[in-house]
Amino acid sequence: MIGKTEAGSCGCGTPAPAAPDYTGKSKSQKRLILLLGVGLALWVAIYLLIGPLADYITYSLIQLPAGSQLASSIAFFLYEAPKVILLLILIVFGVGIIRSYFTPEKTRQLLSGKREYVGNIMAGGLGIVTPFCSCSAVPLFIGFVETGVPLGVTFTFLIAAPMINEVAVVLLLGTFGWQIALLYIVTGLFIAITAGWIIGRLKLERHIESWVYEIKIADSTSPAEHLSFAGRINYGLNAVREIVGKVWPYVLAGIAVGAVIHGYVPEGLMASFMGKNVWWAVPAAVLLGIPMYSNAAGIVPIMQALMEKGAALGTTLAFMMAVIGLSLPETIILRKVLKWPLIGVFIGVVAIGIILIGYLFNAVL
């Protein structure tokens, strides 16, 4: 209680920070770093153990015959599921700590008054690191546009934020390796930046609902948070609890479906309709993906299994981008502030971008 009254008297209207503990700060900080180190070591140990353990359980404990379809499905699941969950925990924690530095308020401050080009590129990068949930799309949109962030720059942010998220990157990393994960980040950024730039160029401001402009936005009234080191660790742990807690059933379900495909679907089956030489596969995958709504968690393991059976990388990536980048729920939410023509342009430009990327990868790789 003492801490609170102090903060109240000297804070000049800023809210009391969550229980700052200045006494013995360096000591508790050292202990935190030590704990983090132990946690990381434990993580590495478990990570190295799951491969041999999965094989041991499948072939020695349950004694399934090596090479059988069931054994290959079960070994796949027992290895992939803990691996992906472990990667999720580590990366969501790390991204959580990075995100504690980027509040939406700070992002808006960085972007307001920025012209196109530079603004678009910055908005793409900030879209990755700023915490965002699609239910916040409307307040964010209004807050950005009202304080002088150009429409196109705002759209770059709104495209990049959901499409390039840590869950997608983790799963791509875990299942396809870092090259594909990096490819996904780079192409996702490219689509967000160019699509936002094009939307800005088209001068569509008149298709924003008029009530948006009637709102008087006061200067940022939201409290600026100054987090201590422990506070940031806490933020990261909360992110793990919230995101991994929500996403793990999808991950397990996705890997289970992937495991069945892995064990039972014949090689090359997917090549006939998701292969490189099927010219209509990319637009079909994107059209199919737009109304579908799933987080990356459920979709990536299935994608991996499909690719294993001959689906082309470009087609698969395009499908994934369409599913998590463009979604029906977010569109419906944005309809509150955007008129139909602008929504149409938004979906159209992003969809065309994804289709082009799909064709490009099918042609190059």
Binding site: E105, C135, S136, P139, T221
Partner: protein, 85 residues
């Protein structure tokens, strides 16, 4: 004292509502808790992310679902500020 929970009805917003009501009940406070779901009203508070918590017309938190303890601190902090003024 009036506490407002701003949020268009998403899952996280409903979580915040629940946490706030639980805290108010457990502290036996005489406060009114209101849910603001209309986007135009929400935007009066110039927030960038939902859900947000408003105590006596002042935004004290936005964009996350705080723990019970954090909500407790925010509310008791606001009460302490009140008494000083």
């Amino acid at each position: 004292m009036i506490i407002k929970v701003l949020g268009p009805g998403c899952a996280r917003c409903q979580n915040l509502e629940k946490v706030v009501r639980e805290v108010v009940r457990s502290l036996k406070l005489d406060v009114r808790v209101e849910d603001v779901r209309d986007m135009k009203q929400i935007m009066q508070y110039s927030i960038l992310a939902t859900p947000a918590l408003v105590i006596d017309e002042k935004v004290v938190m936005s964009g996350k679902v705080p723990t019970k303890k954090e909500v407790e601190q925010l509310i008791t902090g606001a009460i302490a500020d009140d008494k000083q003024e």
